[in-house]
């Protein structure tokens, strides 16, 4: 039986020809998995295809379109670029497919964007502006680089040297500094020394996500070297997008395993959950609020560690050597819920769609920049669930989620309070 060589390298779209060609339109990528199906309301988990009903906007349509791109049957047009880029790449489709079919849907979607860039068609103009900002100011908003650590107030203790390095990221540094402050306060409260990167730059999430791999790889190398130069053993993030970038996509870009990074990558929820269990972080102050928790994609279904793969595909599509599929099972689902359960006064209610079935806020991976209407739609759709369960507050673990949900709440004139889990933990550790 002849075999075909392939790898999980997203620089070549035809590495995913098998995955794209074996999609059967079961639409497990679009609907909430049947086990957790909450009913007729809130029954979908794909922001893109909920926003635009044509099949082309669902992963099942995109797999067919990807095949046509690979075979040179489709020309790049504004509509085709919209189909490829109006998508937060939230991973809902990937975990949905891997319940039954194990196709690499997420990687196929990433490879399509890389192909768009390789062909000179992508990314979108708004993404090119982000790339310019990063090149010039080392952050994606074009804000002055010297303001990056403005969030750091005098009351926060930062070590010159420590095993733990907190990487705040662009969003928390410039847009939602309260998250960075809260994280620092939590670390201080647990008596955990931490340092910052001497000269923090953008993680490159948007560049990677829109297919600008060369630019993203340069940042990955630069940032990894910068961490190694500090001697830090662990990089801690409060940004789910950044967490995914450091843990999964830096190794992907450099063709190494997550375990080969040379340091650990953790999110604040992992750290805090562990610290609460060990007793080093005490949550004593009551926070009287009825809240819902939104699983940010980057720390949930997209968070499985990366291992490079290259092998042969043969009879019946079996692969050799064995491939350990990334199915979103190692996401940080329990940790934030443990934390919320430990905060006095908090009444935690689950929304109809949770964990791997969550409905993305719609902001990430270049979506809010190029398709703000999709990001707004997605956030407002998710907020309906918050109202459905009667929560006063919506808590997430990513500044992108907070920023996008906050904007949607403002636009709707609602009273739902949007918070990051760092702020909530911080509120419970005292003044």
């Amino acid at each position: 039986m002849p075999t075909t060589h392939f790898s999980l390298d997203i620089r070549k779209l035809d590495n995913f020809a098998y995955d794209m060609s074996k999609c059967i339109k079961c639409k497990g990528c679009y609907w909430v998995e049947h086990t957790y199906m909450p009913g007729v309301r809130f029954s979908t988990r794909c922001p893109s295809n909920t926003w635009n009903d044509f099949d082309a906007y669902g992963a099942f349509g995109k797999m067919r379109i990807g095949m046509a791109i690979m075979e040179g049957k489709l020309k790049w047009t504004p509509k085709l670029l919209e189909i490829i880029y109006a998508d937060p790449l939230c991973g809902a489709c990937d975990v949905g497919c891997k319940r039954n079919l194990d196709l690499e849907i997420g990687l196929s979607l990433e490879a399509m964007r890389v192909k768009a860039v390789q062909d000179g068609a992508g990314p979108m103009p708004a993404h090119k502006k982000v790339a310019q900002n990063i090149a010039k100011h080392h952050n994606q908003f074009g804000a002055p680089h010297e303001n990056r650590k403005k969030w750091l107030s005098a009351d926060l203790k930062v070590a010159d040297k420590a095993d733990l390095l907190y990487f705040a990221g662009c969003q928390a540094s410039y847009v939602t500094p309260e998250i960075a402050k809260a994280a620092a306060k939590v670390l201080n409260a647990s008596n955990t020394p931490f340092m910052l990167m001497p000269d923090e730059w953008c993680c490159g999430n948007t560049l990677f996500s829109v297919g600008m791999l060369d630019e993203a790889r340069d940042l990955a190398r630069r940032n990894i070297e910068a961490v190694k130069a500090t001697g830090a053993k662990t990089v801690l993030l409060t940004c789910a997008e950044g967490y995914r970038m450091w843990k999964v996509d830096y190794p992907k870009l450099l063709n190494i395993a997550t375990t080969d990074l040379g340091f650990n990558v953790v999110h604040l929820v992992e750290f805090a959950d562990e610290a609460i269990k060990k007793g080093s972080l005490k949550l004593s102050k009551s926070v009287d609020v009825r809240l819902a928790y939104h699983d940010a994609c980057g720390i949930s279904r997209l968070a499985d560690p990366w291992t490079p793969y290259s092998g042969e595909r043969g009879w019946m599509g079996t692969v050799n050597p064995r491939l350990k599929r990334r199915r979103g099972t190692h996401g940080l689902y329990a940790q934030p819920r443990n934390i919320l359960a430990a905060i006095p006064g908090v009444t935690f209610v689950e929304m109809p769609r949770t964990r791997e079935n969550s409905f993305c806020c719609g902001a990430g991976r270049g979506t809010k920049e190029a398709f703000p209407e999709l990001a707004s739609f997605s956030a407002k759709h998710r907020l309906e669930e918050v109202r459905e369960v009667g929560a006063e507050a919506l808590v997430s673990a990513c500044p992108w989620c907070k920023s996008n949900f906050s904007q949607a709440v403002r636009e709707q004139g609602d009273t739902i309070k949007v918070m990051d889990i760092a702020e909530l933990i911080s509120a419970s550790v005292g003044p």
């Binding site: 059967i24 086990t35 009913g39 007729v40 099949d55 349509g61 049957k73 489709l74 079919l101």
Partner: protein, 537 residues
Amino acid sequence: MGIAKRAYNALESIVGQKYITDDPAVCEGYRCGPGCYESGLGYERVMTKIPAAVILPRSTEEVQRIVKICNRYSVPYVPYSTGFYGPRSHCHVDNELLIDMKRLNDFEIDEKHMYAVVGTGVIYSPLQEEAMKRGMYVIIGGGGAQASVVANLIGDGWSPLSHRIGLPHRRILGTELVLPDGELVKMGSLAVGEDPFWGDGPGPDLRGLLRGFTGLRGCLGIVTKMAVKLLPFQPEKLMPTGIAPNTALALPQNRMKWINYQVPSKAAQIKAMFEIGKAEIAGAVTKVPLFWRAIAKAECKEEFWDIWGKENEDTIKNFHLVRVLLIGFTSEEQMKYDENVLNDIMAELGSKPRPTKPSDESWIKNADSAGMWLMCGSYTSVDYIIETLSHATQHGEFYADLKKKYTPPLMPDYGDPGWFQSFELGHQGYSEFLVYWDPDEDTTGVDHFYVETSKMNIKNRFYTSLLGPHQPLYLTGPKYGPNYHEWLLKIKDEFDPLWVCHPPVPLAHDVFVERSEWMKSIKDWEVPKKFPMPKWE
């Protein structure tokens, strides 16, 4: 060439610019394959086309107006609910309009009178969840959790739970059908009022137009709304557990329990199903293909082959299971009574219970259809029959024999006689034969096997349900009737004189055989020089 501009503009005026497109990229997203039901087979390659345009109506009235315009401008069209049914539910001719029904997703439930009214875009698992929240349940089966309720009920729509809940045509109540020319037919009690509570209406029962035994795959109109009967269930919640892919519904063991029994022989298997039916116990009674057990155990495709590769003809021939779902519909006491009766029956037959998970992964809110593609990347059910229990089981054995001749390219299954179960408390026996192959190999043998199954059914007098839409009508029609084909074509001509509605169904498989050189060697039946239908290419 596409759809004529005047026709397109008229269609756009119905739904607005946002819900119609002829953009090549968007239309490409509606390509059938290559992955699909009947993945990579000749029928998919030869008979499916990318739509020239796609339209998404929101209401029955919009569907009527769309269909009338299609008739006025001779635009062929196909109704499309979720597209999961593979090539049979996609465009077959050039310049065709695909009517995507997903926006017809209205849902109402009448708890008191126990029915739900669904639009074509409503799928199975939300309906089941809404029913169970209210102490009721339904079976849509067939395509599974993500398949359209309406499409499944007018097509197949059964599952192991049909042991008690029965066949789908008994659960179709008031229904709206837009005929191929755009006229609206209201069936059942909807014919005389606004309440769809009852399936029978005045005059002839037009539900036969929808589905007959099984459906005609959209070639006789478009169902836009259907009331579906719900039945009483046990009251306790089935708790979702686990993270994908290892998710399941935890069953309340005092009210629901799957039990697998190993039985000593094929005869004992059939006898067990008869006796369980006679005792009027259990919610589901089935014997599934044995490789499904390997799917359930395997963590990945490669592990499946590790597990299944250890089997052989002897291990399969001598391993007989009966899988029973007990449901305490009325009380815990009833559940205990059922279990005692079941244990008595199985003990008398020399059967032993085997360890069984206290959960359900596949049947309550799902028919785990998508998992069928894991092993090979392809799957289709070539045939299913509903007969007596004893006759149905022979069907599977004949199939297994025929299959040996076509393995490879079919997957080795070591003579497993397929899926076999009791319907309607043992009054009917169900046999379904599922096949799998490597879609990246030469699939000519699978195309041949498909048609040879019809010949086998005719020869051995099995009543297949896939007559018109899945097999050459001129092969099956003269044998099942003897003029079944003529009758069906007259119905088609009467209701769709232009054949605008999903052409060339119900002659599509005939056309496929005529167009495909590799099918000529097995074509030994008569066909007219010209098929009696308008030519669309």
